[in-house]
Symmetry: C2
Subunit: 366 residues, 2 copies
């Protein structure tokens, strides 16, 4: 495979705010800006992961004003003009539209890979291989998505059902997409896991900018109209003002349900062995970090003294000593103003804590 | 019972250093000086508990130089000259001797109650009643000890076996002591619990100063000689110097094995319902603090947000928020430089942690 990537761009989506990694992630310190795994932040790792495939000038970041400054300081290698600022978050469909419109103006032949800023991928070589393959398929005007071969019956992800293999003499498996499925119930997740033809929706998409803009025109004419209007101000002094004005009127919609579900030419590349995690919940760190012989993980150079302790993850933002005795299957997150101690299998309840804090106006912890 | 307490004194022993309440208790901050239960320190509570029975001028404290200043600031109501400073810790027998000699010099008719500084007693009225009774028995030259009616087969305490009821027309139960027993094995502890004639040795003793000095003369002639020599310097300018010089030569011995075991006239008042605890281990706080409906205890005004959490004790030295999810039967001690998370039934292993820290010269945590 020697596909020409001269017009291929990476677009990193980085506006999100999640609450499931509280108390480490906060409004002002969203997950992608934190050094969760090793010394780099997830955002830095996402950029670094693209080295060798995209030069910095072909890596774009779409984010919100509040996060842009920190991101720029974390990745000084990216040109300033490659940061696209959303006036306010309006869902992934709008992000995709803004990025596609911008790239069209800069390079009418542009293809793009949309990549979340806060995921982990262990096998970078395979990731590069898959992206190149996806760009090759996308060149034939397919909307391509990377599917993750499921390893457990997760109810935290949407699923993609594959149909027939795609014609075209590809040397890797690629299929037409039969359907996108929302996050399933536990029972359904079990069935999907064993079906053999479903992947997790990773939120990674690859397409030509003209193809995705065509699709937006058909599926989301209002968004397309807005993009046309903003695009008509391209290079003019009132571009930012018109972007801001028009953007606030957009409805919030996702690329999955706003575009992909109804599109005709959609393909999936299923990926096993990528070592992918969305790091969406504290327990997911057990999948991406290497535990010691007792299954314990001390992240971020935490000083952990463990007696009769198993399968326990400790994260400390300071150099204090953390001692555990007789503790099993627990996650301990020690930050300046808050301490979380949570059974691993209940880490999904962290979001309930954040809801509680919101409801009781404990702003300083949010 | 209207026994005259004019010559009755309380002597609080407060030199100890224990490690089992780490990380809260440290070399510089021993257990008795900490506000473990409510706002007062255990030492302050011990002094306060004597209100109504002893005026401040009849309450003495025996401690070491390093702790005296903090103690004086915690209990300004006690006269300065009522602090007796041990040049170095030499066991409870020496403390008893020093206090008895001092009281003899001040008041030849003195009786004294020896009381640990770091225990908890809920039922203060009953405690007063028992002390008065004990002084009455002691007035007949008995060495009296308060026994605690056991509620579980503890291996953490010595036991006292009672013999025949003491003649004398007492309106409360009081027995001759048949034997003192060291901390038993688990199996023996079960037998002692069900025997019906064994109490825990609480370390609280009541006697006339002349009676205990006589006993020291017989059982521990060397200590007695030292006390005589020091006593001969009473009121002289070289008293402190001779105390310091002679004290360092003493052997370390306990009152239980050095004196009580071999004494002739020894009596025990068994006490049930005193709500006593030696607060010797973190799990003992569950016996003395009132839990909420889920069995959780947040001490020291700790801010604890509990989800699916049961029988868990949280102590925080700061105002940080502590969140637990799915946590059961756990003790969480959050101090400035160290955090302990320990299954309640393993709190005896805290001392192993301290040993480990000593061995690895982690002085700053000791």
């Amino acid at each position: 495979m020697a596909f020409d990537l001269t017009h291929a761009y990476a677009v990193i989506m980085a506006g999100g705010g999640g609450t499931r990694l509280w108390p480490l992630s906060r409004r002002e310190r969203p997950k992608q800006l934190l050094p969760l795994i090793g010394q780099e932040t997830l955002f830095q790792s996402t950029v670094k992961r693209l080295e060798g495939l995209f030069p910095p000038e072909r890596i774009l970041v779409v984010t919100v004003e509040e996060q842009a400054r920190e991101m720029k300081s974390q990745t000084p290698e990216l040109p300033d003009e490659n940061y696209l600022i959303e006036p306010a978050p309006r869902g992934t469909a709008s992000v995709v539209g803004l990025a596609a419109m911008t790239l069209q103006k800069r390079d009418p032949m542009a293809s793009m890979a949309i990549l979340p800023s806060d995921h982990f991928i262990r096998n970078v070589d395979l990731f590069h291989y898959l992206l190149k393959a996806a760009f090759e398929v996308a060149d034939r005007s397919y909307l391509v998505t990377l599917g993750i071969t499921p390893t457990l019956p997760s109810t935290a992800f949407g699923y993609i059902q594959q149909g027939s293999p795609l014609d075209g003499g590809y040397t890797y498996p690629v299929y037409e997409v039969k359907s996108f499925k929302e996050k399933p119930s536990e029972k359904t997740a079990q069935q999907l896991l064993h079906s053999g033809d479903h992947s997790w929706n990773s939120g990674m998409f690859i397409w030509r900018t003209d193809a995705i803009l065509d699709e937006i025109r058909m599926q989301m004419p209002r968004l397309h109209g807005t993009l046309e209007f903003i695009g008509s101000r391209w290079g003019r002094g009132d571009f930012d003002a018109s972007l801001k004005e028009k953007w606030l009127d957009l409805k919030t919609e996702t690329v999955d349900y706003g575009i992909m579900e109804k599109a005709e030419r959609v393909a999936v590349l299923p990926a096993g062995g990528l070592g992918w995690s969305d790091v969406g919940i504290w327990s997911s760190l057990f999948e991406v970090l290497l535990p010691d012989m007792n299954g314990n993980i001390a992240t971020n150079a935490t000083s952990h003294l463990a007696l009769e302790t198993n399968n326990t993850l400790v994260y400390s933002g300071s150099d204090r000593l953390i001692v555990t005795i007789g503790v099993d299957d627990t996650i301990i997150i020690d930050t300046g103003d808050a301490l979380l101690i949570c059974k691993t299998d209940q880490s999904q309840k962290v979001k309930d804590v954040v809801e509680h804090l919101k409801k009781h106006r404990q702003e300083k912890y949010l």
